[in-house]
Symmetry: C2
Subunit: 210 residues, 2 copies
């Protein structure tokens, strides 16, 4: 498999964690978002949406981290990324979705670029926007997760796969986790697992070049 | 079942379609987003995220439309909302995710309210922002779907469940579908099905009060 990735892309980070948890080996192809490599026609032939990540599984190229992570869980069932039971699964997916749909899209590089470059906002305004969406989402997630020590119990799930990259981003933007002890606890539990540790931005080959 | 909904909420609209496709009957509880009813403590006890939709299945309350729709597909397998085969399923989920994660979060009422009320932008700027994210997403979706006549073949899938409410919203904001014949075609095919027709905003009890 070939993963089109950027070390700081939160969505690519999720897929790296999922691939590692499943024990699926892959080759990384770095697409530098800061240099705009995702906008090149060459990458558009791989992913018409010009976004990261894309996973070439041989014969097909999959896009969109939520779809890729569900694919990996179906194609490689062990270890499962979702608990047993439709209701439990819905609760885990809801937390993933709060991050994937309600926090991250407001805070990714394209959105922040629109605020700054097209609407002329300064970094202070962009940072306040960023913090607003993180806090609104984390407030709800803190009320919903049940660490033990992971977001939902004794093994990592899809919720942790989304949470860890979002916590990484929140730290980059100096957002305190003091109000979110459950989120911070799940993040610590994950950081001890090699699957999460090897997926971290600083550990990616393209981090060194940056 | 009890669905907390607002007639114009795109995420609630998705869940109404899914419930109808599955033939699951439900009671509607209207939460008026314009009046800010989602922010009341009473609703916070139902959904700590203070967002729509929420589905009370008796014993548990599920939130986040992506998680609710996956739940419905697991708990009520017939008719399926996803095709057979992990790769095909990933392609359908990718289109759902392009709408759920890349278009809709930028364009929902909370985001537009931040742009207008907190950042002081006028309606023209908000409309341009809205159109930008719809077009970026629809350009990719138009390249990826294969109507026949639905987004992926001869029966509606999760992709159509996300597409129809997004097309409804695009029309409300006067965005032409002229460049998106495949998207427009799938929307027409869906509009002929009672499950989609009964889920439409204008058909909801709370539409009349508005």
């Amino acid at each position: 498999m070939k993963l089109y990735t950027y070390f700081r892309s939160s969505a690519a980070y999720r897929v790296r964690i999922a691939l590692n948890l499943k024990g699926v080996s892959y080759e990384s192809v770095a697409i530098n978002l800061l240099k705009g490599e995702q906008r090149l026609a060459e990458y558009g032939a791989i992913n018409p949406q010009h976004r990261l990540p894309a996973l070439d599984i041989g014969g097909s190229i999959l896009t969109q981290s939520p779809a890729i992570i569900e694919y990996l869980d179906e194609a490689y069932p062990d270890p499962p990324l979702l608990p047993v039971g439709a209701v439990n699964r819905a609760k885990v997916r809801a937390v993933a979705s709060m991050i994937g749909c309600d926090i991250h899209p407001l805070n990714n590089s394209g959105t922040l670029a629109y605020l700054k470059n097209r609407l002329g906002h300064d970094q202070v305004t962009a940072d306040a926007w960023y913090a607003h969406w993180v806090r609104a989402g984390f407030d709800a997630i803190e009320a919903l997760i049940e660490p033990g020590p992971f977001a939902f119990g004794s093994r990592p799930t899809m919720a942790d796969i989304y949470l860890v990259p979002q916590v990484f981003n929140a730290r980059r933007f100096d957002i305190s986790l003091a109000d979110y002890p459950k989120i911070a606890g799940a993040d610590v539990a994950c950081s001890k697992l090699p699957a999460f540790e090897r997926a971290a931005p600083a550990r990616q080959p393209d981090a060194a070049e940056s």
